[in-house]
Symmetry: C2
């Protein structure tokens, strides 16, 4: 060893995460203080619009990305445990794929454009693309399909907490299974994810309802003469939480609207949504209600999965998309302070809407934004600090080829190795090793390389020893 | 066991991959034959444009996705071994981020659009977004940065083999390191990837050149009076392989073009590009050429990494993007039958172009399309067949809650478990287990559940035994 090592490593610092975000929001440039911005031409430039991320989108710096990768790894691991297969589709689709079913809020929020005489759009959600893929190979696919995807979706909407213009979403869908056994598998998968990230003890409730139940009830009542009004009615009442009871009643009874109930009918409809007790719902449902029987079957089964204590019936859950046909569900933080964490349901008629054969289907979407807010509120965001196995430092450029050989050997063993590229002082190497979270440091001076060794220092224990360098032949 | 098991499992079938594609191209609907299409309303619909993937894009069905995940896992694993940190940026950026440097082919190929009075574009490549991120936190970041990303990029271009309108790209970039030690790390990382996927024995060559070398030579020669013409000159000569020597000479000597050389000057320039021997290049370069010294240093270092036997000097490599300033490199299949597999180089002035401080940087992009073509040509595409740990089959719905408990228990152990959701014949269960690549089958009849067990069959050996079912309490 040609130089004395004086610095001693302490525990790795926690690099930490943005204190109020899962990733780096674009609206501010958090790391350049306003005061600094005025100081130089460069800093002013960062505030120029085209050099910022588009409003409502996020950059993922390494700290952000480690957290995202941690979450996505859980998504994928749960999907693997539930024997789902991953799929993906292009983020750009023909606009019409999303606008075929009109009247939905989602249509106004499309990132859509015309290019070379084609109307295109960024997907606002994954389900239409999945349906398109199923349709294209309908006769070749082996049902039931258990498909999942982790994709970025785009909606141009007003930004509030937990709502950006892009988000990632974990989708799990089962195609070709009619029974509520499919819903049960999906809801169990959601709880498996929640448990993994530390939210399995009641911090999240799944609220379950059935559109079929609401439909049965309304078609015997206020919608008896006009069953077609049911889909637009669902789009309106889905906004109950957001716009409030009075506004929903106004929209349902708007004589120029898609539903056009009387004031009394609108009030009666909204009162139906207030039922939180399943037995009360059963009592108010038509006799021998198939929807009630299905819900009962689902709840029994969720008991088998051991998750029923965190599942509640809630007649106000209808979901905003027009394509749902049966059981629907949403996950909420128990305090009710955030938007829905996830949501899904049965959409048995979607393939028919696209001109395909009737094919039962059920699925959910689980975004990356609201869950991150909740994990942060609960103090459950993990410390995803950087960590590597080894850093290699050649004191002079003469030792660099030997350092390269050593790096190649260690990397071939699967070790994560940072080879120091610049000349620097040893003290700086130690502080860099600390920042990188290195476990080991290999030092190569002329003395070591002359003896065919590197000096290995364990950065946890401080112990040192010589280890042989690989010769150039051993790499071939 | 209430039923006799008659079927015996053979080896799992290889589900295989599309014989001529890494993923499912959109231009055809490969699994619906033209004859069939005319038979039903549904099949006709699949041919309707909005129900197909956008031209030039790919759907990833489970078989395709397993292959893509296999490749991406290698990208990420190499990056981890080289101690790079993953980052990501939104796929939508302000259009001007990409058009600031005019005159490039890439600008005409943008997926660009105007939305709510903002000019936006899908990224055609990742580097400008990375530069934007570096710029935004320039003073806080700790150099050198070793960043990587695996992102989808979009270019509206003519489709040929290995060229689609979207592709995924693995990017590795080093910011803040001036020496060729950075280039060496990057080229070593490319070979590490090639070795992992079975292409490390010379099937791929990296061709290296230096724009600085060409610039030095031309600025002492034909561009002496007009150094500004160097960048557009590079964009033209990058097309040499594609459009041929004559067309390049024509464009260089086009009096209305950006370069405007004489015919003789254009011919001389092209002759410089034909040098494949490094010592010849050194002899023709200006004396004490810094670019030659750098190349020599790089080649020596790549010897240390053990990869120099697959690296060649090639004066025709200049890269199509205007921002490169120094060493540039491209990976090609040794037979030369495909487009470049990967490419990169040094772009020390990009941050300045965006108004930031001078910051050395070097990086490469490695696409998913050409490498898949090469792996296929070489017979190296892996058999990514589906494989799960266990399938669980309750004979009747009465056994389903017990089956759900068992599934939950096995999944909590990290096993991949498919719980059969539909009623079906036992023979069908066996064939489904084969399709899913299941290792074990758990059968639950009334007899088993009555005794508190499941019948476990090892699908490889055919051996069977009873295993205890978890009771409902044990899951809480």
């Amino acid at each position: 060893m040609s130089k004395t090592i004086r610095t001693r490593l302490t525990a790795r610092p926690k690099l930490g995460l943005d204190s109020n975000a899962f990733a780096t929001p674009s609206k501010a440039c958090p790391s350049v203080s306003p005061g600094k911005r005025r100081e130089s031409g460069y800093s002013r430039l960062v505030t120029s619009k085209d050099l910022q991320a588009v409003r409502g989108t996020r950059d993922f710096y390494p700290d952000d990305m480690r957290l995202r990768s941690w979450l996505f790894a859980h998504f994928r691991e749960v999907a693997r445990c539930f024997a789902f297969e991953e799929v993906d589709a292009p983020i750009v689709e023909h606009e019409e794929l999303f606008t075929r079913k009109a009247g939905e809020e989602i249509v106004d929020q499309l990132y859509h454009f015309e290019l070379h005489e084609r109307r295109l759009a960024l997907r606002p959600e994954m389900t239409p693309s999945i349906a398109r893929m199923v349709l294209a190979r309908h006769k070749q696919l082996k049902y039931p399909l258990r498909w999942f995807a982790v994709t970025q979706n785009w909606r141009y909407e007003r930004m509030t907490r937990g709502r950006k213009r892009e988000h990632f979403q974990w989708n799990m869908d089962i195609w070709g299974e009619e029974s509520v056994n499919a819903e049960a598998e999906l809801i169990a998968a959601i709880f498996s994810l929640l448990q993994r990230v530390g939210l399995g003890d009641g911090q999240v409730k799944i609220r379950v309802n059935s559109r079929a139940l609401l439909e049965e009830t309304l078609l015997e009542g206020v919608l008896k003469q006009r069953p077609d009004a049911f889909a637009p009615l669902c789009v309106i009442i889905d906004k109950l939480d957001k716009i409030g009871k009075e506004a929903v009643i106004d929209q349902l009874s708007d004589p120029n609207g898609d539903v056009g109930l009387s004031q009394a009918e609108a009030e009666e409809t909204v009162s139906l949504l207030e039922i939180k007790d399943f037995e009360e719902a059963a009592a108010r449902a038509p006799q021998d209600s198939a929807a009630i029987a299905q819900l009962r079957q689902l709840f029994d089964l969720l008991q088998g999965y051991g998750v029923m204590e965190h599942v509640v019936f809630d007649a106000s859950i209808v979901r905003g998309l027009a394509y749902y046909t049966g059981i629907v569900f949403e996950g909420f933080d128990a305090r009710g302070s955030l938007r829905a964490i996830c949501g899904g349901g049965r959409y048995n008629r979607l393939l028919e809407t696209l001109g395909g054969p009737a094919t039962p289907a059920v699925g959910f979407g689980f975004g990356d934004v609201v869950i991150a807010e909740l994990l942060q509120d609960e103090g459950l965001l993990p410390d995803c600090v950087r960590c590597i196995d080894a850093m290699i430092f050649p004191f002079e450029e003469e030792q660099r080829p030997a350092a390269a050989r050593l790096a190649t050997q260690l990397r071939a063993q699967g070790k994560s190795v940072e080879l120091v590229m610049a000349k620097k002082k040893l003290r700086r190497v130690f502080s860099d090793a600390e920042t990188s979270g290195a476990q080991e440091l290999y030092l190569l001076g002329s003395d070591e390389v002359g003896r065919g060794v590197a000096r290995l220092r364990n950065l946890q224990s401080g112990e040192e020893c010589d280890v042989p360098l690989p010769d150039s032949l051993s790499l071939d």
